[in-house]
Symmetry: C3
Subunit: 265 residues, 3 copies
């Protein structure tokens, strides 16, 4: 099947099935993550207490775990949720926000990687840190590296984990270690809006929940999110209006826009 | 008094008195709750540490408690705040977000209900769960049930608690167990914006603070919030611009718009 | 140097150097703080775990600490981060949100003031509380006092701390105890959007990171933020669209707009 057909098909499934995506994410991102997930047609649920995550995973169609603004009291819940997803055979996405910045985040990332995420999504610095590339000092949570630099580390990481790795940047790379796709959708203002990477992580969870192939599901999610950003940018005056328009564009995506706009090679 | 007159009167009081609403709410919702409360003309204060909630309740005109994204370390603070509101005779609103999803939320809801909320506001699934309707499995935090199905459970719950119960949905139901009002204001895009229910909970607190009758105060808050959503929808292109326009519309509500738009029976 | 020239110069430095601002802030404000910091051209990083704050301060160019929605488990992290900033000679800004409301916030403020903030930014009530003015009962987190009333307390506080104090209100006052500047930029709708004070605190951190003189850096940050609000208000219909337009205006600020709009005396 052509990727445009596949994208339209997955998008229709998200809209009709409205998969429940359990998002364990940071408080900076929660608003944007929830709104983007609702706008694409899925249903978000946020829960990060150790006492309830396993019950939420049991109800959910996918799990996403994000380590931004990490606090130790949430780490057990992240691990428990990831174990529950793995045990139930439900897809889960790991978003290693700012993993290079601190020991706490690196150690947590290591524990989470051992629980076999279906997809890992990060910027070039984060993916390079995860790949153990020496000398990559991440600066905050925004990428100091180009996604092209991360392609080889991403492939290595994907192969070693048996996961799909998504590197977002000016050009996004989606790889399972063997096959790789490049996505040119997106807009330069998107990194000037906080939490859009976190929002894509949640939307990737929604597409994994309705698809059969993690590589193409992740690629479609990434491309559609970037496409919505491009559509929003047409009428935007800066990152504030881009964010608002992105939610509208995610909501209004349809087969015609998808076929006209997808830029995946 | 005609309900339109009453609505205009309560709205004017909120604008002139700017009641202080203490909101214990979840981090997904905090931004939207604070902005909606400010936009309607009230003053929000967020505080959820056990160590300070009693002092904040003492300053506040109303309290609202929301159990979304619940964590055990906040439960004591919720109970302490509700006890302080009850002891001081201040109105308080309980918002049982996702109560059907986990044991932690059900147990917390049970403890909170024992502290006699003035108003309970939730979607149909949440109200049916609270009413102890067997076999209602809530799915995430969005309602899987229609508000009409919840009318009888809502009446029963209201009568047993001595509280007003608000069920929000396509048509909202506001009942004290004896009297019931139905509100047709609102827009289908509103459930595609996160935390609007939580925002209504806070605004309900503001109207309780300035009104004498909990049933009509809750009904007016619910109707005006839905009306602001309708006004916003006229110029919106999707849930992103609806959210922005909702804040503008809440801010710009006036007697003329209220008289023209209220749909309460 | 003329203040307009200085403002253009500092603004250009923020845009080209993109200083990393470590924000320890409350969950109500995180979204707006991160987006405003990105929009002005700086790079925010949020981290508030005791286990990682020192590492984040070591990477950052400035620190900002905000005590809104305070919880005891974050206080140690705030103190540790402030100590690390002080030890490293990095500028740090203290934002005493709602300090008058509770004992917990007053005690925390006292501990933080002992760690010598570079700048303290608050509304009139907060600054008056900090100055130990008797009889100031803060009401929630919004100022019940006029900034002019806070001028003398602000000067006294600045002199005693050896810090710059910023009082935001209809007219903002920036003082180091000896010199004082008054800033007339801003718009009456700004207090109807939550967390804009918190956002200014973060932006002040960004300007301190690139400037040599705390008084003029804080004054420029305050004036440019107010100016962006004025620009946004031209096309806004209320606080919802003001907020969106503010992010666009912060992003689009340029030397021409700065020279035309600065109102500092």
């Amino acid at each position: 099947m052509d990727l445009s057909d596949h994208a339209c098909d997955l998008h229709r499934r998200v809209r009709t099935r409205s998969p429940l995506v359990h998002c364990i994410t940071n408080p900076v991102a929660m608003d944007t993550v929830a709104n983007a997930t609702l706008a694409i047609g899925a249903s978000p649920v946020m829960a990060h207490a150790h006492e309830e995550v396993a019950e939420i995973v049991a109800l959910a169609d996918a799990l996403t775990v994000n380590i931004g603004t990490l606090v130790p009291e949430r780490i057990d819940a992240m691990l428990e949720a990831a174990r529950a997803a793995q045990a139930a055979g439900k897809p889960w996405v790991f978003d290693p926000v700012g993993v290079g910045a601190t020991r706490l985040r690196r150690a947590t990332a290591q524990s989470l990687l051992a629980l076999k995420p279906t997809v890992v999504r990060g910027n070039a610095s984060e993916i390079m840190t995860l790949s153990g590339i020496a000398g990559v000092a991440a600066r905050g949570v925004d990428s100091a590296r180009d996604s092209a630099e991360a392609e080889t580390p991403a492939r290595t990481l994907a192969a070693s984990l048996g996961a799909v790795v998504v590197v977002t940047g000016a050009v996004d790379i989606v790889t399972d270690g063997t096959r790789s796709l490049r996505i040119a959708n997106g807009h330069p203002w998107m990194p000037r809006v906080t939490a859009l990477g976190c929002a894509l992580t949640a939307i990737t969870g929604a597409f994994l929940a309705v698809g059969d192939d993690a590589l193409s599901s992740a690629a479609v999610a990434t491309a559609l999110f970037g496409l919505a950003g491009e559509i929003a940018a047409r009428d935007a005056r800066g990152p504030g209006s881009l964010r608002v328009g992105l939610m509208d564009a995610l909501y209004n995506l349809d087969a015609a826009a998808i076929r006209a706009g997808l830029r995946v090679t």
